[in-house]
Amino acid sequence: MLRVKAGDLDRMGLLFERHHRSLYGFLFHMTYQREASEDMVQNVFYKMLKYRHTFTGQGEFVAWMFQIARNTLKDQAKKNKNKVQQLPAEEMEDRLPGGMSADEHLEKKQDKASLYKAMASLSEDHREILTLNRLQELKYGEIGQILGISEVAAKTRAFRAMQELKNIYSKMER
């Protein structure tokens, strides 16, 4: 990113290849809207180009990228205040891996659907931290940077989020 900042804008293509999936994943799990997430990925990369001079290189690039993504999400949320979020469970059901017996498949499918529903019903803070932590596999130090909290606070929040998810999920399974 420092090379991009120095004017080598083609390097942004490399960064796009490396990071656009995780960025898209994060945005998707925060919105459950494919097209909107794609647009936001585009938006985030545009902002990174436009505000490349604000990247100091002191923190991680990934942290900076997710900070911009969060701001983009907030802007988007303001625009879409009235739109109802669409749950992904049904959509995701068709995408489950094959190669299992029908029963096994069905059972797994149901488990997964429940987990998605549980995840979707989490508070935004908790969904956010678990997405970053578990799905994007970021370290707590990085998550702290992104959210503007300490590493310890990030751990605590992640633990509480896991607890909440577990409780919601276990209620669904019963």
Binding site: L9, Y24, H29, V152, K166
Partner: protein, 272 residues
């Protein structure tokens, strides 16, 4: 219920972020604490399940869109480079306009007032004053020339004295002092050439009555034939009849040059 102080350790364990020492300590605690081990088991189930959570693939369209955006951006950056300069120039221009419009008007007014004032001053009082100054200056130069001429007439070198005499042609209003000096030179200068040029200079000042009288009186004092001839020519030119008597006296001189005698006789007849 689990122990609150082990929350961070449990989440650390799930993330594989614990040091071996921390892990050993936690495992020891888990064997002793049922609440914590149950909590961990439940969390681990969900944690493992989450690993299988999928995110839909972004469409291939996105990469194309990104590349297009990047290209457009690069172009716009290249476009804005000169654009930045023009905008700065425009802004400077605006500031310039803002800052100079009134001062410019003021300075214009001041310049116009200056011109007006100058015109008024020179056309009235100051103009006359300057003319007076010019007159004074030219009269000073005039005086200087006179003084120089008079000084030159005293010079031992004949050529310098001739130069002094020649200055009289530049003196428009010869005063009595100059005329006296010239007449004295005409009568007394030992060099005939000096006397000749003095005669020439005096003939140009013949409108002064004292010059004419001086010239007539000078006739009898000239003993050089060249001077006698020259002065006869001058008298003829001036049509000075009062000189006839002086010429008649000259004819009485016994040692008069015969050529001069003829010339004088001729002059007398022409004058009469």
């Amino acid at each position: 219920m689990m122990c609150e102080k082990y929350e961070d350790k449990l989440i650390g364990l799930l993330n594989n972020e614990l040091t071996p020492a921390e892990q050993a300590e936690l495992e020891k605690h888990l064997t002793e604490c049922q609440g914590c081990s149950e909590e961990l088991a439940g969390l681990r189930d969900v944690w493992e399940m989450m690993a299988e959570m999928e995110t839909p693939e972004p469409s291939a369209h996105m990469r194309v869109k990104f590349q297009a955006m990047l290209d457009t951006y690069k172009e716009s950056v290249e476009d804005t480079k000169p654009g930045v300069w023009t905008s700065i120039r425009e802004r400077l221009g605006k500031i310039w306009q803002l800052q100079t419009r009134w001062p410019l008007a003021y300075s214009l007014v001041i310049v116009l007032v200056g011109f007006g004032l100058g015109y008024w001053l020179f056309s009235s009082g100051k103009g006359g004053e300057q003319e007076q100054q010019l007159k004074a200056l030219s009269s000073q130069v005039h005086e200087l020339k006179q003084t120089m001429m008079l000084a030159l007439l005293e010079n031992p070198s004949a050529s310098e004295r001739i130069r002094g005499v020649s200055y009289t042609s530049e003196i428009k209003h010869a005063d009595k002092e100059v005329i006296d000096a010239l007449l004295a030179t005409l009568n007394n200068d030992p060099n005939v050439n000096v006397r000749l040029s003095t005669l020439d200079a005096l003939s140009h000042l013949a409108n002064h009555p004292e010059v004419r009288e001086g010239l007539i009186r000078s006739i009898e004092k000239q003993d050089s034939p060249i001077m006698q001839l020259a002065i006869a020519d001058v008298m003829l030119k001036l049509q000075e009849k009062r000189s006839v008597k002086s010429f008649e006296d000259m004819l009485k001189q016994k040692d008069l040059n015969p050529g001069v005698r003829d010339k004088i006789k001729q002059t007398i007849t022409q004058l009469i």
